[in-house]
Amino acid sequence: MNTRRFDALIIGGGGAGLRAALQLARSDYTVAVVSKVFPTRSHTVSAQGGITAALANVDDDRWEWHMYDTVKGGDWLGDQDAIEFMCREAASAVYELEHMGLPFSRLDNGKIYQRPFGGQSKHFGGEQATRTCAAADRTGHALLHTLYQQNIAHRTQFFDEYFALDLVHDADGYCLGVTAMSIETGEPLLIEARATLLATGGAGRVFGNSSNAMINTGDGLGMVLRAGLPLQDMEFWQFHPTGIAGVGSLITEGVRGEGGYLLNKNGERFMERYAPHAKDLAGRDVVTRAIAIEIAEGRGCGAASNQGGGDYVDLKLDHLGEALIAEKLPGIRDLSIRFAGVDPVQAPIPVAPTAHYMMGGIPTNLHGQVVAPARFGPEEPVPGLYAVGECACVSVHGANRLGGNSLLDLIVFGRAAGRHMQETLRDNPYPRPLPENAAEQSLARLARWERPGSERVAAITDDLRRMMQAHAGVFRTDAVLREGLAKLDQLEDRLAHAGLQDTSRVFNTARIEALELENLIGVARATLVSALNRTESRGAHTREDFPERDDAHWLKHTLYSRAGDQVDAKPVRLKPLTVETIQPKERIY
């Protein structure tokens, strides 16, 4: 197998991966980025609403209030040291992006424009704060392109359209790099590095109705599971309240930030009942549950299909006026016209809860080092391995993520991991020897897909997505989750009998989709087992059979390992870096 060697290796070319790569490209170390798509196609590009930081450009603000909101937003499952770190670093991370050229929208005084967003407050739960920095409603596009531009300027080495297969590690558990495959030629490749960072993004494609791009298949998570490492908090999936009904494309929370609001079939602004204080800008899980209940109880809009009501609600923003919508929300106007057939300047957009974001993922500390229960405790770093972005679980988002905090997460922890990787590289100046069988597992995986089979990958994938939509959605019960697991067992059996019709080498997308399905199955299993295990409701994980939050038993993170579907736990880190713990209390919006 061909081998390449770099000091540092980044898997994934989205916002987190590119921010980390930039940090390393600016240093004396060599860095390579492996991405299965051209980097600006990464899903970061579709993020709309903004990046949250307490700049106080529009209104009073402090990072301590942002920290409080994030802890509460996560329903106290987030680690407070990491949350403090992120909120403290936020302003400098955003200013840095602006210096790099990100075309933020501006206030009249020339400062970065900020908009109100969900779950944001002043004075620790007081009035609405205005904290999310934006570039119209194309903030993710602006961010990703800016980071890509900076990486070109700093001559980062890119392996575009290479699919990462597996982590390579030695007998002592040191990560030595990855095996990958050129999508264009089909050739496998071994890339050695003394520090490897996974930034492979989310896995929303495990659900039938998702805001996610087709590339979001949890590849880094699959790699981690196959390496025998655990995944954390996989039961916590955010269903965004406002995906275009029936389509999945996201309509940013920024619409509600600019003054839009939700109506049921009776023309009632129903969020006033569910969240009297924050109303439409409550945490996303609160709004999603509200919409789901309105629909289930027959007050949904549209053709009657559910207890006399339809299966979506209306997002009204015409009262904001065409000028504001054209200036601040042009992207979603376009999406609404194309996919919902509605111009929001005239009429409300039909929206419904849509699988959107994975709060769980690869467990890390606040330096981005992957941690796993090993010899010395639950947080021992796996040498040479890092993870950042949606694929990681630091955890800053806890049981539910606030809007605007994901783009922030990418930048703050991308930078932090890049910095820490430099320390690792300095402390480990020479590469460790590769084991004899370094590429064996990957070559076996590839060989497996040369065999013919009776089942088709596309059909299994469709059934997996349908199953997860029905069994791991907004409202869960023991019976529904168990049924899901039983169906998953059948799907895994079918996968074992699947084969490709096309075994060609050059740009074989069917082979890539088969490898992606293997990763999706791992993510689905981790989700269902973790969801069954957690017998409480917290944040986005809602158990109808255990409707209350139970801090006495459940103020802890779930750790899932593939071997035997084992579930362990580790405590939530309640002690921040410097400030007082934000004590758990009832979460009311």
Binding site: V37, R41, S46, H99, R106, L107, K111, R338, A510
Partner: protein, 231 residues
């Protein structure tokens, strides 16, 4: 619905050919990408790039009934049958609808698409008035899909020397940015017979852009700046 798809596999030893496909699909509310994926579900050898399926990532640009479009936002109901789908014109074809984008990316990189400002950075953001920020509207939104550049005859004839509409639009994006200080160098970079001046105002780029951008106008503004500094 009837489709004619450009098929080519380098490993087959055969020349490219147009494949006739009939697909049982109701066009209502569906995009071309939905149809292509449905065809792929039956024939997994059909290869195409795709990701966001909402017209923001730029992966799935193809030539449909003679026009460059993003498959994911091209409504089926708009298309006359048989719907002819080909790879973007003028770039080497790797397989089926997948082209080698490197000539396009190379020209993009050649205009130094990053902010250049060597002044010490302030502790906060550099200020930029809304009026100055508005100069970037119509330029920063480019998704690098290559619909424009692969619709441009000048780019077909001189892909190695003419920067092309997308690259030139990005050159303008940085020239126009009040925070960028490299305008003179950027103009020097474009001042030769080929890099910018192969633009003849054909305007296929404006016609093709799925985001409604206008590279011809931006190129015109760069030409004005080039002239002004010589006068």
């Amino acid at each position: 619905m009837k489709f004619r798809l450009y098929r080519y596999s380098p490993e087959s030893g055969e020349k490219p050919f147009m494949q006739d496909v009939e697909l049982d699909i109701d066009p209502a509310g569906k995009m071309l990408l939905d149809a292509l994926l449905a065809i792929k579900a039956q024939d997994e050898t059909l290869s195409l790039r795709r990701s966001c399926r909402e017209g923001v990532c730029g992966s799935d640009a193809v030539n449909v009934n003679g026009r460059n479009r993003l498959a994911c936002i091209t409504p089926l109901s708009e298309l006359k049958q048989p719907i002819e789908v080909r790879p973007l014109p003028g770039l080497p074809v790797i397989r089926d609808l997948i082209v080698d984008m490197e000539p396009f990316y190379k020209q993009y990189r050649s205009i130094k698409p990053w902010l250049i400002n060597d002044d010490p950075e302030p502790e906060v953001e550099r200020l930029q008035s809304p009026a100055d920020r508005a100069l970037l509207d119509g330029a920063y939104e480019c998704i690098l899909c290559a619909c424009c550049t692969t619709a441009c005859p000048s780019f077909w004839w001189n892909p190695e020397t003419f920067v092309g509409p997308a690259g030139l639009l990005q050159a303008y994006r940085f020239i126009a940015d009040s925070r960028d200080e490299a305008t003179a160098a950027r103009l020097d970079n474009l001042e030769d017979p080929y890099r910018l001046y192969r633009c003849r105002g054909i305007m296929n780029c404006v016609d093709a852009c799925p985001k409604g951008l206008n590279p011809t106008a931006a190129i015109g503004r760069i030409k004005s700046l080039l002239v002004k500094r010589r006068v």
